[in-house]
């Protein structure tokens, strides 16, 4: 299988005054070219750190990273920040969670957008400006010419996220990391942005890694799903298979905690009790054991290994829903 991104045993930790904080604890992800992969998990499960580490954006003297990241056939996991830069924009690009802070407030939209085109693609300034207007039209911003001259502060959140998307796709990347691209937006705008991303992915033949905590988004916009919990992969499957034969109690709990319109209102919102384990001091056993409704003695003493079923469905549980296999 031709992979656009292949992550093997990725570990990321941060030195803190309280000791090493293990944010990602050995993650394997395989993304076929042209596919879209959803990364799901609650806040603090390591989704964002994993994405940033995979792209090589985590820098700083307190970052401890190991493992292999192969992008489009090239091993980039061990490259330093200056060498990995050649893949940015043209190979990999990222959309950030909060469009309010992702654009430079003191520079006009046009110069921020054209900058990538001039520096990464070597276009001249005039051509870059024309192309920048085309990109704004591509992300369905009305009146692109006027928008080029505006400052980020003059645009709404949804419009800003469109500008961020336009900047990310400016150099036609092969792989787009979308780190909770709709979390900071209004519900009505969320749907539009996700539609836009799916359309762009199809038109530009891009792969996309979509980070979210919303399984509903995953169901509609991805081909594969990886569920992260406490920095570990706990379930991995094609999206359709995941929703028809869920193996992990954690994934089931996530799905149950989505509020539904077809259920009577007034009842308690189902939620997952307890919280994530302390990342600086993990306890033995399955990290989900303290919160799992099906927990047994074995779960509290041993970390379950990743199991691959005959149909390729990967899960990390001694007692999966629906039994082994």
């Amino acid at each position: 299988m031709n992979s656009v991104l292949s992550i093997k045993n990725l570990e990321v930790g941060f030195d803190t005054p309280r000791g090493l904080l293990q944010a990602v604890r050995g993650v394997d992800v395989e993304m076929p070219a042209g596919s879209s992969m959803g990364i799901v998990g609650e806040s603090g499960s390591g989704k964002t750190v994993m994405c940033r580490a995979a792209m090589g954006l985590l820098r700083g003297s307190n970052v401890r990273r190991s493992g292999s990241v192969v992008f489009d056939g090239d091993e980039i996991g061990a490259l330093d920040s200056a060498d990995v830069r050649q893949y940015f924009g043209t190979g990999m690009a990222m959309i950030f969670q909060d469009p309010m802070t992702a654009l430079n407030p003191v520079r006009r939209i046009g110069s921020q957008l054209a900058e990538s085109l001039v520096i990464r693609l070597g276009m001249d300034k005039k051509a870059a400006r024309t192309r920048a207007a085309e990109l704004l039209a591509l992300v369905r911003i009305p009146d692109p010419e006027a928008t080029l001259r505006k400052f980020p502060g003059q645009l709404s959140g949804g419009m800003r996220q469109r500008v961020v998307i336009a900047t990310a796709i400016a150099c036609k990347p092969k792989l787009l990391f979308a780190d909770e691209p709709t979390t900071a937006l209004d519900v009505t705008v969320q749907a539009q942005i996700l539609e836009l991303l799916s359309d762009l992915r199809r038109d530009l033949d891009m792969s996309m890694m979509l980070v979210t905590h919303d399984l509903g988004v995953v169901a509609n916009h991805t081909d594969y799903v990886t569920v992260l919990y406490a920095g570990l992969v706990v379930e991995q499957a094609p999206t359709k298979k995941l929703f028809t034969s869920m193996k992990m109690p954690y994934t089931e709990a996530l799905l149950k905690s989505i509020p539904r319109l077809d259920q009577p209102s007034g009842g308690r919102m189902p939620m997952i009790g307890g919280r994530l384990p302390d990342p600086t001091n993990p306890e033995p056993g399955c990290p989900f054991a303290p919160r799992c409704p099906y927990v047994q003695d074995k779960c509290r003493s041993e970390v379950p290994p990743l199991t691959t079923a005959a149909d390729g469905h990967v899960y990390r549980c001694f007692f999966p829903i629906g039994g082994n296999g």
């Binding site: 654009l103 430079n104 990538s116």
Partner: protein
């Protein structure tokens, strides 16, 4: 259309502010003249004959009450008549001619010092923020801290002694106008500019370093990295501008301190500038001259601060929005 009219209002506001500051400063000073323990008449009016004495009192305006005296002084000042340097027996040189000779030298000194201090502090501040916590950053911080703790006149004397007298690289004192020789002018200004500027560099670097470190944590910087831009480009085109507001404001506020500092440094290096004139006026009890000098310094201070305010608005659109809100 609307933007233009707000600009005009802004300029008018500034002018009113300028007038109020100048009138306030000079009126207070002219009241203080009346409160001196030595009466102005005893100080300036000499002569054996009553006629002579009356003529001098009239010439100096000492027959008027404080308010009427001030109005006359203001009217003269606006027309460029800054009063006399009073000599025993009446008459004397005009302050305006002294200002004409001294002011350009002080303006040159202050202007060169600001340019020098900013030109060194901006790269240094950015660099030590970029390397924050590492050895080079600590080295820069300690070095500047040491430099800043030496008073500027001691620094001036040391520089004059070592570079001027012992090594004979530069003239230890004296001033050469540009019209005479450009090279000698520059050579004569280097030591005084160093003496005034080195303590400034220390504070400017610290201010900029703090703001750059804060800006480097912003999402838009990570986004700029993800676009594939080089670190140098990110620092100078994305980080410097949003980080420089505090620095510029402090540079404007420093104008007063710089003129005060130049009073001492001009004496150390024998530069016949405004600082020297102010010193002579203080020790020679030339209160009319002093009143004119203080008015000029106040005007310069307000004008410079207004220019910096407008400039800050240009480089950071957020401050404009805040002001208009």
């Amino acid at each position: 259309m609307r933007a233009k009219s707000t600009n005009i209002v802004e300029v008018l506001k500034r002018l009113v502010q300028l007038l109020l500051v100048v009138i306030g400063a000079t009126f207070l000073l002219s009241l203080l003249l009346r409160l001196l323990p030595v009466g102005l008449k005893e100080l300036y009016v000499t002569g054996l004959f009553e006629e002579d004495r009356q003529r001098q009192i009239k010439e100096l305006g000492l027959d008027r009450n404080a308010f009427s005296y001030y109005i006359h002084w203001l009217w003269d000042f606006v027309r460029g008549d800054f009063g006399p340097i009073v000599l025993p027996g009446g008459g004397g040189e005009s302050v305006a001619s002294h200002v004409g000779r001294a002011l350009p030298k002080t303006l040159q000194l202050v202007f060169y010092t600001q340019i020098f201090a900013l030109a060194v502090a901006i790269p240094l501040g950015i660099f030590s923020a970029y390397r924050a916590g590492r050895r080079t950053d600590r080295f820069v911080s300690y070095g500047l801290f040491t430099a800043a703790s030496i008073p500027n006149f001691v620094l001036g004397l040391l520089l004059a002694l070592i570079i001027g007298v012992k090594l004979e690289w530069l003239p230890p004192l004296g001033y050469v106008p540009i019209s005479e020789s450009f090279v000698d002018h520059v050579r004569s200004m280097i030591l005084p500019v160093l003496a005034l500027g080195i303590p400034l560099i220390a504070s400017y670097t610290r201010l900029l370093r703090t703001d750059v470190i804060a800006t480097l944590r912003e999402d838009f910087v990570t986004m700029a990295v993800a676009k594939g831009l080089s670190d140098r480009r990110i620092l100078f085109t994305h980080v410097l501008r949003p980080s420089s507001v505090t620095l510029l404001t402090s540079a404007a506020l420093n104008m007063g301190a710089l003129i005060g500092g130049s009073l001492v440094i001009e004496r150390v290096f024998s530069i016949p500038g405004l600082g020297t004139e102010i010193g002579l006026a203080i020790f020679g009890r030339q209160y009319f001259a002093l009143q004119a000098y203080v008015a000029l310094v106040a005007i310069g201070y307000v004008i410079f601060n207004s220019v910096i305010d407008v400039f800050v608005g240009l480089i950071d659109p957020r401050t404009r929005e805040r002001r208009n809100a």
